[in-house]
Symmetry: C2
Subunit: 461 residues, 2 copies
Amino acid sequence: MHLVAIGGSDAGISAALRARELDPSVDVTVVVADAYPNFSICGIPYYFSREVQPWQSLAHRTHADLEATGMALRLDTFATDIDVAGQRLTVRAQDGSTSDIAYDELVVGTGALPSHAGIGGLEQLGPEDGVHVIHSMGDTFALDRFLEERDPKTAIIVGAGYVGLEMAEAFTVRGLKVTQIQRGPEVLSTLDPELGGLVHTELSQHGVEVLTDTTVSSVERTGAGLAVHGTHLGEPVTRNADVVLVVVGVRPNTELLERAGARRGAGKAVVVDEAMHTGLPHIYAAGDGVTTHHRLLGLTYLPLGTTAHKQGRVAGENALGGSVRFAGSVGTQVVKVFDLVASRTGLREHEAIAAGYSPATTAAVADDHKRYYPGALPITIRITGDTTDGKLLGAQLVGRLGTETAKRVDTYATALFAGLTVEQVSDLDLSYTPPLGSPWDAVQVATQAWSRTNSGTVTPA
Amino acid sequence: MHLVAIGGSDAGISAALRARELDPSVDVTVVVADAYPNFSICGIPYYFSREVQPWQSLAHRTHADLEATGMALRLDTFATDIDVAGQRLTVRAQDGSTSDIAYDELVVGTGALPSHAGIGGLEQLGPEDGVHVIHSMGDTFALDRFLEERDPKTAIIVGAGYVGLEMAEAFTVRGLKVTQIQRGPEVLSTLDPELGGLVHTELSQHGVEVLTDTTVSSVERTGAGLAVHGTHLGEPVTRNADVVLVVVGVRPNTELLERAGARRGAGKAVVVDEAMHTGLPHIYAAGDGVTTHHRLLGLTYLPLGTTAHKQGRVAGENALGGSVRFAGSVGTQVVKVFDLVASRTGLREHEAIAAGYSPATTAAVADDHKRYYPGALPITIRITGDTTDGKLLGAQLVGRLGTETAKRVDTYATALFAGLTVEQVSDLDLSYTPPLGSPWDAVQVATQAWSRTNSGTVTPA
């Protein structure tokens, strides 16, 4: 039995690890396009902030750790073609030579690629010009080299999602003056603007210039460095900087599987079932390149590292004849921006409406612990629930670092997984001690506020 | 409609608040034995550590806040008798005079009383002698006065439960040399000794002398102060100190309701149904004086502030004709001891066996966040699951302050409430960002460890 996994990031490595864990007699080969298997891409901003040094620390496991599990790694090896019927994978080595790898079962974890969002000039400009993306260790080294060699003083970050915000912090910590440009009306558009606004304030207070409602049309080299052109509410706007980082999202990297005959679905990602099977014989796929089963939405596209780990694990087990299912995402996400923690799980109101729910959203502010104990800080929470059956649909939280906001969102995530109502969250037996909570935890102050506003409309099942 | 609530602590006040919230036309009177309604008894240790000053800060709500809700407070008023048929309550004022209060509905929240655990001498010795309990604001003032006037240098704390541990910290912070005496083999006996041992080490590292396996038989006054006598594994042991604090648990205060004809059940507490009804017409009861519906155990006695708040709220709503049910406890508890946070939810192995489950317990240690990001610290977690059906039965966690341990236990508490299996906890979509978590959260590293050890025995439903 020979299991081949393509991709050295979360999905591919998780599949390989799971297979070796379940059956040490199985031969496992992981084909990795670069020399950096099992690196934590989510950690890259902390390398640039210099909180994580050296870059080797970003590896979840070292090369030696991985080989000690018994898997074989084919580094700097690019998978170019799958012969589905013949169960053979064609790969190209760094020297351009190609070879075939026979497999019994294949797990594809080719991930996603950075999007350019149609911004002009990006095809022509690259790291040498000061225009960067950060999606791989190669990108990381290129940006690192640029920062060391050119010593830029100013940066423009196009995009204000998770990575964009983390990089705004990292550049600021390194002393660069940062301008962050966001197309939508508020930063961190995965949260309601009321909460994105809190993140915006945090950025401003740390000296980041934030331009919202601003669409970038092009980037060009000028004598002085780089110019970013766009429009702000119809008016032209230009900003200049020494370095430009484009972090406007990703698109699934599906080329290999498409050529092999796989179908694409939500977000143009490869369609897989809950067993992570592609429908092609002996081919599983997982991670940022495939559709995601969402417990509230059905099939969607939501590329997240946590999901890739879980899907990869499922794929690895099923490739060995297992019958496990990916239990589904509820869209839980969290980001630290300077001293603020912003998180969400489940659906926001417009997402819930689009999915056929009847949502209402209520805001509350509650202290992280009893106010009489020193250091209490407010957490702002927005609860979305279904006004028909009272089910919890989603929660968004913003609190300062140290308020346990990141793990409070997990209470809602667990409630969503279990299909609890908003009222049931208020009924949960959550922990309390004055330095760390309240008799009604902040989580429940928020659900009680929702119930006060909406309970009249709910017909309990 | 006149609702009378007896008790100025969590249960009574919660009932009164809920009634006024639901129907501002209802007359609500709260009969309070002392002058301190709605004080946070859980906060008293932080008054002694001087983190909370002045004592008035310990009020959840001020007297004025409470009256602003429209409830009437009868302070320094002791409820002596209930005329069930006549729907009248007899009360005694501070001057010894008695009077009657007519009620339509009654909620009794008389709470619990400190236990003496059969220790000799405690009936004769009191605050003036340096022997203290801390169960009320009166106790608090007495101890405060003793500390101010006598300036004790040494303290013995009999008991090493939540309050005992918090007071060991408070006394130490104030400069007293503390000896903590625990009957059982390890401190914090509500956790497995492996985890209690971590708390023990934390106490020792802060200079607290800890005597375990030591049963206190008597306390006596000596020329030099106080002597505590007991036995340690059969050998006599004596310790001397200037002040002795006895915190060995509580017993339900059921006298009033018993005389009115209420039944006693688990823990000799008054039996109530899930509507918080006592079975006596128009009489509800809630809080530390009544039995608790536990979602894994059925009816038990488990006095906790969080439960009292919830039960009081249910009682207040049902007294007004509502039909809500107390959803039940899962026994979630947390305590901060110096820089350590210890928590539990659900059942430990011996409790699960006694309740008819087939438990197994597995230990794991996992970092609170990605190790490459500065400040990662281990959390020690013990998972108890049922080997028959794979259901999660309980979790215990010990981590340092700042590891979000208090809110990580809430994920397990939510899973227990929802009846999830251990495997389903591993499937949860929990939040991740490198400074605050891991792709598999510590919560899931622990459940995966349980599954690796026990999955062979589980027959999924």
